[in-house]
């Protein structure tokens, strides 16, 4: 009788890599937005009064 192998470790590892990669990329986008906002605020402080 055929016995299906237990490959769950590799399945969860594969899913974690894909979903984890996407989450890390989203976090990097969020981080870059934050940096940009900080730079923008710093630049705004340097602008001469109109």
């Amino acid at each position: 009788m055929h016995q299906t192998p237990d490959t769950s470790l590799y399945f969860y590892l594969g899913q974690t890599v894909i979903l984890g990669g996407i989450v890390v990329y989203i976090a990097s986008l969020w981080w870059r937005w934050r940096e940009l906002q900080a730079d923008r605020a710093a630049l705004h402080d340097l602008e001469p009064e109109a």
Binding site: D6, S8, Y10, G14, V17, I18
Partner: protein, 233 residues
């Protein structure tokens, strides 16, 4: 925040989150277990979706490159960079997840199979895209060279896609598995096919949301740079 997200982007974000949740549920619960490979076969749903987006994104980059070369508008260059960056992320997680699937199925993490070789070439071609851009200081020159490179680099996409049909390979063929020479294919039952299509849909919506965000980020960075230069004058 100075740039509130447009309504359209919020809708796409919500749709992406909902469809990704449905896709994950289908992979974990709905899709049946494949008898020979066991549960690791289910990596296939997100693996195929990730690789599909990698290739789609490089095609989007090439379209943006053509648009830039014709119009010379900065927006197209920003879109092109966004598409290449996201394409690299998806292609990379696609390769790594494939390697994890291969360990119990092929009994090795990696083998120099034609599909694996062509996908590695594709990844390296697009990593080099960013190296090229970093080496050019003049923004116009950077955009022009980047656009030409993104067009030339596109050759690696069909080469990767068709490698499982053109060469002898042990990589499974999903699209066109009934063609002569398609090796390593497995039969998908209806529930598996449905799960695959839902995964492809969910990842594509997620891609639209990510591309939109990355484009906005690029545009905002451009605006900031222009503001900085104005202040220095």
């Amino acid at each position: 925040m100075d740039n509130p997200r447009p309504v359209g982007l919020r809708v796409v974000e919500a749709l992406a989150a909902a469809s990704m949740a449905v896709a994950l549920w289908m992979v974990l619960v709905y899709a049946p277990l494949e008898r020979t490979m066991g549960i690791v076969q289910k990596v296939f749903y997100f693996h195929v979706a990730a690789n599909w987006l990698g290739m789609l994104s490089f095609i989007v980059a090439a379209v943006a490159a053509v648009a830039y070369l014709v119009t010379r508008r900065r927006e197209w260059d920003v879109l092109e960079v966004a598409a290449v960056e996201i394409g690299l992320v998806f292609a990379f997680v696609g390769v790594v997840s494939g390697s994890i699937w291969a360990r119990p199925i092929w009994n090795t993490w990696w083998t120099w199979d034609p599909r694996l070789i062509t996908v590695t070439i594709m990844l390296l071609v697009y990593v080099a895209y960013f190296m090229l851009r970093r080496g050019l200081d003049d923004p116009d020159r950077r955009a022009r060279f980047g656009a030409v490179y993104a067009l030339v680099g596109l050759v690696s996409v069909p080469l990767t896609f068709f490698s499982v049909r053109l060469y002898r390979t042990i990589h499974p063929v999903v699209v066109g598995k009934n063609e002569a020479g398609a090796m390593g294919a497995f039969d998908m039952v209806a529930d598996m096919r449905t799960t695959l299509f839902v995964s492809l849909f969910a990842f594509t919506v997620l891609y639209v949301a990510l591309l939109w965000h990355r484009y906005r980020l690029g545009r905002a960075a451009d605006d900031l740079e222009a503001q900085r230069l104005r202040l220095m004058e």
